[in-house]
Symmetry: D2
């Protein structure tokens, strides 16, 4: 009997989610599976609200940001009755495989569902924060870096014109992947991310010393600091005030905000989305469940869903090298 | 004896200032004039800090944001002694013509200088706010619209994904040109600009009614509001709270900030910069001074500097039509 | 009785056609008119192939390139029987107003239709070539300039790296608007457009002299020539050979081609599209027909359809100034 | 005594070469090394033509395409006397380490130099073609994919509007990395790359069958083929003719050409350039030479220079998966 694959997007949206939905639908059609989508994340499982997905609808979707399946928070889903209701709706719809595109929070829910539903559950990492353990990259991460870097490139123009300090706050939730990559690729002068941040006063002293050194060497200077959200006590505005106090220079805040979540995905996110989505469909009916399909050292891998959140993903060798490079930059001029 | 033309950029930087400097330098070289630049706006006239500008240095400059002459505020310049000092330095440097690229504030200064200096003074409009009377467009305005629209396009992706309200604050100082154009080109649902804003409660009621109408017609909706800076009592965050209160929907703020000031100029700004800069040089030595070179109905025009600030530039016929179009959009879906 | 407005897009597609369709549909809905679209240009009138257009469908359309109504050539339409058939189908569908978005070729057809159909006919200029008389700009023109300039900016990187000559062929049909604007905004070294081109040998001599001058002054140089299509005998490849022959330098051709036709419209095209589309709908039922709605000196104007092709649109004052600026650039370094 | 590091860029330029030069210079300054650059690839070693590189000069360089050290072919270098001359100039300049940024052709030269010069030789992979064995990615590859995909996204707009076939020729030299990635990320309908191409008639039959299937299912269709350069007998124009002959549809060629070589590097290329450049400097004075520093499974690795060209780099596991995904797409609608 024909397999029925259902997909949903959950948590914060990320560029490439649509490219992934497209890859899943096209792969299912090729394999001869039925495929449908639940709307607004787990809410679609509870109401239920489900649409049939066809290859027709996928045309010109690879380049669109956001998610045509919509997303939303859903507290109720994680309660016992919510999970049971979802299981009932999945059975009524005769779904064989549920594919959840989202972050570790969404995978928590998917894993919890397993206790109440016998079907196959596969997670695909979709978040701009890249804070999902078990995969080197998440769908949306590359685009968010690009968006942040393009914005910082623009901010630098003004920083240079006015020999002014700018502090640019980027997203990243509790991880520094986005902040570190954006700072590195934008040749920013300083970066403050959770993993490398210890103490405010010490950090301020470091910034001050560096700015002073440069001023002595070449007069007025511009200086761009990349700050990850949720790190600095008092936030980006407070940091600006403190930098002004210790340096006597004007420091202006820029908060990139939700702009980082949208936009047409860059090629790397499109390619990652197609790889992961296609691989997920290749697992349909196989004896694997409660897993996430990720990418590791360029190869597609399956990891148990729990691993994606049980241990906080830390900046790896790769990222430490990145940090080191950035240290170099600090002496750039 | 060879004419000596000096240039400076003042006020907020704007994409295309470098393209304009380039056009001035190349035109001067062709006419056989010497050309130099004063650094950091009027500060360069007081210190003095002047560099020679050569055609060589202009290569690959047309596409760069910011200003290689730097910019900065300069309170002291507008005081009697500041103006006298500037005049003395201009005479010592044997400058025949001073070209000031900036906004109406900068033109104030240029006009004040006239009482103390006999040389020729020409202003060129360079600001992303387009709030200079006597010209249809200012250098940097087109790029700022593009930057804002690209960002709003991204925000809409998330707004649609979450059926959420977003309020995007754009620059514009005390004018709504940037806000209105950005809202129109991004197909935003509502726009709040100084010229069209009267009263907060009435505006909130209008927004509420429109959102309710749409929800009744099609369930969850996304809604994007473009807000000009300095307009809403309490700012963008307060507006979000108020919209949430009256609609019961989540409303998130996005402040584009200084990103709007930088970036490689779009073609229209590059072309405008070349036209105005080239025309300014064609006036060197002619019997015109204390004027701004602007663009009006596609033609380059000279207007007295005072006219650029004496009357607040208002949204013209063109802009009213734009506003009308936007009203249509409000019923878009 | 409710008015029925029909729209079609004809001729080469141009970025902003969708934004214009959207503005028409939203304006019609607001005015309470029915609105539908004929597919594949005039072919849709002959088959007939017509779809109803709703505001729902217009969401997120403003930023899309191409045309959802599709376009195609249609020789048969211009023959007597084709026009009669189209008229019959328009009457059967009870269309009151036909809006044609396209270039002067398409307007020819629209004008010819008038002899056989009593309804109201309105043309809107949509082409990247800006070669429609009676309007300062056409929908798609601004985006094509941007696309060409972004490409030439990239080509210049390689030209500089290799101190090499590049000839970039851009579109424009028989007009030099696109070529001249692209050359100016990209700071290209030379431009060859129909209006300014007389004789090949003289042009080659000019190029040779300029390159030689620069080499004497500063050794190896890069040199970028913008060439309009259909101008050079033998085309861009032949020109490269000839430039190599007279200069002894490598000259490489780049043909931008159809890339110039697509892409998300820049803000200026989106705004123009909204203005013209909205104005067209405001004319529905009024005593005007067989006209094109264009933009002149920033104001929306109505001109008889014939004027759009009867006289070849020439580079105006504006464009001559542009050319003059470019001449300056040729001595840039 | 202070180490002296010299850098040069050779072969085709690639976005990110400047970012790599910057990383090398900043790392050298931090380590206390002297650093200089030879101009125009190996030509700079023969003339000699060498400049001192300072951190000052590196400001705002990370985002620039091309190479400030210029590049050029240099036949003479590979001859005995050329290599000897280069060695003498390197000794006269007291260069300890020579870093060559380029492709396998350039590495050939670097390796040949080893027989005549005792200094340390390090290669860094810089080419848009990604055809260097021993590294997963080359500097410039990611940007070229992005440029190609952005162009194909635009072409698709026109393809859809006219239900037309387009064949887009991309670079890649003799490898299909760029073609395959561009086709995948642009959701193209068919891809022809060296590694997957066997026989023209079979390929044409495949294309024909696919187009016919779609037409039967849904009438007029658009169809985009990505073609790697040097693969199709007669090139892209010939392929278009042949596709037209067998399908009866219009097929238009687009050759992206040198546009793919330039432009501001995307973040991934900037990051790769910083990693490789910084690592190369960390090797200065160590007992390794005649090697290339590459990236493998996310880790920086050193491989003997010969390995980079001795075996043709083939599409790996990764790329085959990519190809498989693309096969899926062919049935997309």
């Amino acid at each position: 009997m024909t397999k029925h694959v259902a997909v949903l997007t959950s948590g914060g949206d990320a560029p490439g989610m649509n490219a992934c939905i497209r890859a899943i639908v096209l792969s299912c059609e090729r394999a001869g599976y039925r495929v449908s989508g639940f709307l607004r994340g787990y809410n679609g499982l509870l109401e239920p609200d489900r649409i049939t997905l066809t290859a027709e609808r996928m045309h010109n979707l690879i380049q669109q940001g956001g998610t045509i399946l919509h997303s939303a928070r859903c507290e109720r889903f994680c309660e016992e009755d919510g999970l049971k209701l979802a299981a009932r709706h999945l059975n009524e719809a005769e779904v064989d495989t549920l594919i959840v595109i989202g972050g570790d929070g969404s995978f928590h829910g998917a894993h919890a569902l397993k206790a109440h539903w016998q079907g196959q559950i596969i997670g695909l990492p979709g978040t701009i924060d890249n804070d999902v353990d078990g995969t080197d990259a998440t769908i949306g991460y590359y685009t968010a870096i690009e968006t942040a870097v393009n914005s910082i490139d623009k901010v630098r123009d003004t920083a240079d014109a006015f020999d002014r300090v700018f502090v640019v706050e980027v997203m990243g939730r509790h991880a520094g992947f986005l902040g570190l990559s954006a700072a590195l690729a934008s040749a920013s002068d300083f970066v403050i991310v959770p993993e490398l941040f210890s103490e405010a006063q010490a950090t301020l002293a470091q910034i001050r010393q560096q700015i002073m050194q440069r001023q002595q060497r070449r007069g007025p200077v511009s200086y761009v600091i990349v700050l990850s959200e949720h790190v600095w006590p008092g936030g980006v505005t407070r940091l600006c005030e403190e930098v002004s106090d210790i340096t006597g220079l004007e420091a202006r805040p820029v908060t990139l905000g939700h702009v980082q979540r949208g936009g047409s995905p860059v090629s790397q996110d499109r390619i990652l989305a197609v790889k992961l989505g296609t691989h997920a469909v290749s697992l349909v009916g196989k004896d694997v469940t409660d897993i996430m399909v990720g990418i590791s050292s360029g190869a597609v891998v399956n990891v148990p869903l729990q691993t994606t959140w049980q241990k906080q993903k830390t900046l790896g060798e790769d990222a430490r090298a990145t940090a080191l490079c950035l240290m170099n930059q600090r002496y750039q001029d």
